[in-house]
Amino acid sequence: MNLDILWYLVPSVIMFCCGVYGFVTRKNMIAMLVSLELMLNSADLNFAIFNRFLFPDKMEGMVFTLFAIAIAAAETAVAIAIIINIYRSIGSTEIVETNKMKH
């Protein structure tokens, strides 16, 4: 494998890990959503990197990235809507407030 690709891949992986870390540690739902975006973007980045470095003569990775960004946007929209609902309902966007149902 070309060493150059790693220069791009490693940040992507770090981004992904940051996303996971952020998702797990943030208290605020919006912050969690942001973390999720990091993860999604990391995946998108991967597609772009692999396409650029491994299969430069094809475009599928790039196209895929575009679609994925669109989907991520849709997801965020739905999530935000639900968060707003929760805020209306309990007046908070803390994730710890939403663990009534368990075990």
Binding site: M101, K102, H103
Partner: protein, 647 residues
């Protein structure tokens, strides 16, 4: 001989059993009684016809060149275990079975008749007659068995009818426990019998008696010299089979049920526990006699067991106060006599061919005479109990004036059992003793001593009942002789006991069918008469008039007397083993183990699952971040583990 009569002999009592058993509830006592007696009378007549035809017709089927043949009247397949091992139900006519037919039907008829008077006021009269018929059927089936398995079948049936009759007064706890004891002890012995049959027939591949006994050396050859724990397999088989006989015939140490069996109605004791069922063991040995003959060790075993039992029972009989128990121990002792007699008979004894089967013949002879006089004694005892309403001789005494018929017949019985000529017991006992002396003088001397003891305890009983001192209660309740239904059998049996000794038994019943001329062995006869007379005299001295001699004797040997009175603590030993060890330790332990180990393990699986279920509920903590963490690490772990495992 056609097969009608033999079949009827078996069918009649069985039919009466079904009739009285199923329809008895709807019948009046009188009808049931008459039906029972008529049924048994018919059976008796048929049995007589068959037996007399066998013995005296001289038909070529039964006797060839002076040798009596074994004749299978019919033999139908009942159950085929394998192609060769087939259980059949049949009717074997040979000297001993013909003799037994007579004995059983006679005594049974007497008892039927007697019971009509004796049991008249009891509840369940019809049931009683039904059971009597069941017993008669089973016993007849046993003696005419053509094969050892048929014998086993009826052996069990006899056991259960005995159980039912002992427990006839089922409201009394003592009767219930006595019946249980009888059944279980004999059942235990039957286990030995069964194992013996299994072992024996494994080699012989047949159940049939005739096949086995006609060529006993072949049986020996078939076992091929196999041994188990030092003894040959055949010895094991024969001893195990004999164990069954020990149970039914109440040999030491399986004798404990018989004294308790006296809880049953007295006529039943006369029929089952004196005359017929208890001699089944003797009959079994006689039936397999040729095979036993080739196994020296088993014969020795029989002899030793018989000798010990005879002496033991005689000693115990001297100290009992319940008259039926005295008679019971006396029965044990007398049966043991027959066992010893069989045990000492065999091929190749000193004295030549002539003596080989003497013990066998004598044992069978004694079986016959004993059946008569012991039934007589029991029925007499029944009459006494009927009059005094107690089994206890201390409630009796001086009865000779009140109950003359009973007195005289009882006396005849006592004389017969004591071996005083010309009563029947003398002849049979004399032949037995002769056979024993002939084998080894030790057996002879030992058994002569037992004979003396017999005379002593019988006359002790006789004097204590009919002489001694009168019970003051007689003034309130005057005892009297029993009604004719009860007295008639007494008289008949007494008459038989007087004359039975003159039957030319040796001409009729021998082990190989060749007739044998009985002649008195003068030294043996004289010795035994002297011993008996001395014993009677001693008994008369001690018990004829009320005196303190018995008390002095008792004081002189307190330990021995107490031990003998408690039958040398056999019952206590058994109770300890069964209650404490088997029930208390084994059964309870297993039951505990089942509930607390096996079952608890099964429940444990469920409990552990429940526990785990609760323990892991924290996994589902309600926090989506934790969920996702699990999710993420799950995926990573999956990849890592697979990686580690595969690459």
């Amino acid at each position: 001989m056609g097969i009608t009569l033999p079949i009827l002999i078996l069918a009649m009592p069985f039919f009466m059993f079904l009739l009285l058993g199923l329809g008895g509830v709807k019948m009046s006592r009188k009808v049931a009684g008459v039906l029972g007696i008529l049924g048994m009378g018919t059976t008796m007549t048929l049995a007589y016809i068959v037996a007399f035809t066998y013995f005296f017709s001289g038909d070529a089927a039964f006797i060839i060149d002076g040798v009596r043949q074994q004749f299978q009247v019919f033999d139908v397949t009942w159950l085929a275990f394998t192609e060769r091992l087939v259980v059949k139900i049949g009717f074997l006519l040979d000297p001993i079975s013909a003799m037994m037919l007579v004995v059983i039907t006679t005594i049974s008829f007497m008892v039927h008749l007697y019971s009509w008077g004796y049991m008249e006021s009891e509840r369940g009269f019809q049931r009683y007659y039904a059971f009597l018929n069941l017993f008669s059927f089973s016993m007849l089936g046993l003696v005419v068995a053509t094969n050892i398995f048929q014998m086993y079948i009826f052996w069990e049936l006899v056991g259960v009818s005995s159980f039912l009759l002992i427990g006839f007064f089922y409201r009394l706890p003592s009767a219930v426990s006595a019946s249980k004891k009888a059944f279980i002890v004999t059942r235990f012995a039957d286990l030995g019998f069964l194992l013996g049959i299994l072992t024996l027939t494994f080699f012989t591949d047949t159940f049939n008696f005739v096949d086995m006994t006609s060529n006993p050396m072949n049986v020996l050859a078939q076992t091929g010299g196999a041994t188990f724990m030092g003894a040959s397999v055949l010895t094991w088989a024969m001893v195990l089979i004999f164990t069954g006989g020990m149970g039914k015939s109440a040999m030491l140490p399986l004798h404990i049920w018989l004294p308790d069996a006296m809880e049953g109605p007295t006529p039943v004791s006369a029929l089952i526990h004196a005359a017929t069922m208890v001699v089944a063991g003797v009959y079994l040995v006689a039936r397999m006699f040729p095979v036993y003959c080739v196994v020296e060790a088993s014969m020795t075993f029989i002899t030793v067991v018989g000798a010990i039992t005879a002496f033991y029972a005689a000693v115990v009989a001297c100290t009992q106060i319940d008259i039926k128990r005295v008679l019971a121990f006396s029965t044990i002792s007398q049966i043991a006599f027959m066992m010893v007699s069989l045990g000492v008979a065999r091929d190749g004894m000193p004295g030549g061919e002539h003596y080989s089967g003497l013990g066998y013949m004598a044992g069978m002879f004694h079986l016959f005479t004993h059946a008569m006089f012991k039934a007589l004694l029991f029925l007499g005892a029944g009459a006494l109990i009927h009059a005094v309403h107690s089994n206890d001789y201390t409630k009796m005494g001086g009865l000779r004036k009140y109950m003359p018929i009973t007195h005289w017949t009882f006396l005849i019985g006592c004389l017969a059992i004591a071996g005083i000529p010309p009563f029947s017991g003398f002849f049979s006992k004399d032949e037995m003793l002769a056979a024993m002396f002939n084998n080894n003088w030790i057996w002879g001397a030992w058994m002569t001593m037992v004979a003396g003891l017999t005379a002593f305890y019988m006359f002790r009983l006789y004097f204590l009942i009919f002489w001694w001192e009168e019970n003051p209660n007689y003034k309130h309740h005057r005892p009297h002789d029993a009604p004719w239904q009860m007295s008639l059998p007494l008289i008949i049996l007494a008459a038989v006991s007087v004359v039975a000794g003159f039957i030319p038994f040796g001409e009729l019943v021998t082990w190989n069918g060749v007739s044998y001329h009985i002649h008195l062995e003068a030294p043996v006869a004289v010795t035994s008469i002297i011993v008996a007379l001395c014993a009677i005299a001693l008994a008369a001295k001690m018990y004829m008039r009320k005196n303190t001699l018995p008390e002095k004797f008792r004081k002189a040997m307190p330990g021995l007397w107490t031990a003998a009175h408690h039958r040398f603590y056999w019952d206590e030993l058994y109770i300890f083993i069964t209650h404490k060890i088997i029930f208390g330790i084994i059964c309870s332990a297993i039951a505990w183990f089942d509930r607390h180990v096996i079952d608890a393990t099964m429940d444990g699986f469920a409990k552990v699952t429940q526990k785990v279920s609760f323990a892991i509920r924290g996994l589902q903590g309600g926090n989506v971040q934790a969920y996702v963490l699990w999710y993420f690490f799950g995926a990573v772990a999956l990849a890592l583990i697979t990686w580690i495992c595969l690459l």
